[in-house]
């Protein structure tokens, strides 16, 4: 147990991305990272996601999380937030939609919680 994170379990709705998570989810994180940060891979990912999943050997659960852009599910599974948000970038989806998704709220409801909803 990392002493710097002692007490973290008492903080709800928070999932520290530590090395245990990182080792377990290396495959899906590497897949998303290489499909989104490498411009040369983006067209094939957008055109044929299923083929890319297959070649990367992702599990059915992993494929489904990506297919559905299930933001909350990805975070629970252990996808790193900064890796995840880059697929949204490719889709032209703003982060506000991801934020609402992770809270399992509608975008409209989430925006109501913000001081200046226009500043997104």
């Amino acid at each position: 147990m990392n002493v710097q994170l002692q007490g973290i379990e008492a903080i709800d709705g928070t999932y520290p991305f530590d090395l245990r998570v990182s080792v377990r989810t290396m495959r899906i994180n590497k897949f998303l990272w290489s499909m989104t940060t490498k411009p040369e891979n983006r067209p094939q990912f957008l055109a044929d996601p299923e083929g890319c999943f297959e070649r990367a050997g992702l599990t059915e659960q992993e494929r489904d999380l990506i297919r559905k852009r299930d933001w909350q599910g990805m975070i629970h599974y252990g996808v790193n937030f900064f890796v995840m948000e880059k697929i949204a970038r490719l889709d032209g989806i703003p982060n506000a939609v991801i934020y609402a998704g992770m809270r399992a709220e509608s975008l409209e409801d989430f925006l109501k919680t913000r001081n200046v909803p226009e500043a997104r």
Binding site: Q4, T37, N80, R89
Partner: protein
């Protein structure tokens, strides 16, 4: 000998850069943010630092978890602007300062900081989003940067105290650089925000104000805090605040805040503050391996 002109703490939210690029300077939703950066730009125009030593973090853009450093320093003569999925921002490449960066690296490694050294890696919004509001860049940037990346993504992260000590060690290196150049330190990230999990959207302005007070007057208290404390007080991604401690460690024990702006419109408490040293040239610690804060 290199001279230190002061330090800047600033958020590095990507939307700042996007709003800037879309010309939202007078949009009521963004004006309070942009107005707050004008005095910073004026301060830089007046102090004219040749180099900004930039404590920032990469956001799984140029660094991936298959090879992840605790501290990394960029020694290239130039750094591309990263493409984070929506194409790179229309900014000139950032100029590096190889000689200073190499001098700092040699000093840090001999001082028992286990740096990773990078070349040819694009810099993401952790660097370029606040920079574009503070430094004019048409047709080119007025100076160079030395980027020093701090792991705030994959636990274990460096402790708050270690970040402060890194800043102290960087200052010792800058003080021993033989050329007559001027340097400012920039710490980026925060303040309170959380952008993952059901706790997304968390903020705490009371904590933000307390942090701004402590970073100026009592960084020792911030060095004592554990990562879990930062997450509780400022949100999981608010933990980026430890990068301000590196900037703080590089400055003299007594500093004066000459400017501050705070604006919390959406998910991140967007903040910028400028600090000057009360006694110019005071080194931040007597010797090597000195304790973080006495």
């Amino acid at each position: 000998m290199a001279r230190v002109v002061g330090g800047i703490g600033t958020s590095h939210v990507p939307t700042i850069g996007v709003a800037y690029d879309r010309g939202k300077q007078d949009d009521p939703a963004w004006k309070p943010l942009f107005d707050g950066y004008r005095p910073v730009a004026r301060w830089l125009a007046e102090k004219k630092p040749d180099v900004l030593v930039f404590f920032y973090n990469d956001h799984a853009t140029s660094f991936f978890f298959d090879f992840y450093p605790t501290f990394a320093i960029g020694v290239s003569p130039s750094f591309a602007i990263a493409d984070e999925g929506a194409g790179p921002r229309n900014l000139p490449p950032l100029k590096g300062h190889s000689e200073l960066a190499i001098h700092i690296t040699e000093s840090l490694v001999n001082d028992e900081f286990d740096m990773t050294v990078f070349q040819d890696r694009p810099l993401d919004h952790g660097c370029n989003s606040p920079l574009s509001l503070m430094w004019p860049h048409d047709p080119d940037w007025p100076g160079a940067i030395v980027p020093i990346a701090i792991n705030v993504l994959q636990f274990p992260l460096p402790t708050a105290r270690r970040c402060f000590k890194l800043g102290q060690a960087v200052r010792r290196a800058v003080d021993s650089f033989p050329d007559d150049i001027s340097v400012a330190f920039v710490g980026t990230g925060g303040l309170s925000h959380q952008v993952h999990g059901e706790r997304t959207g968390f903020n705490d302005t009371d904590w933000d104000m307390r942090f701004l007070e402590l970073i100026e007057k009592d960084p020792a208290q911030l060095c004592e805090m554990r990562h879990a404390d930062y997450i509780r007080r400022g949100g999981a991604e608010g933990l980026e605040e430890i990068m301000w401690l590196a900037m703080r460690g590089a400055l003299a024990p007594k500093i004066t805040k000459v400017h501050q702006n705070y604006y919390l419109p959406f998910t991140t408490a967007m903040t910028v503050a400028v600090f000057e040293e009360q006694e110019a040239g005071t080194p931040p610690a007597a010797g090597r391996n000195a304790e973080a804060v006495s």
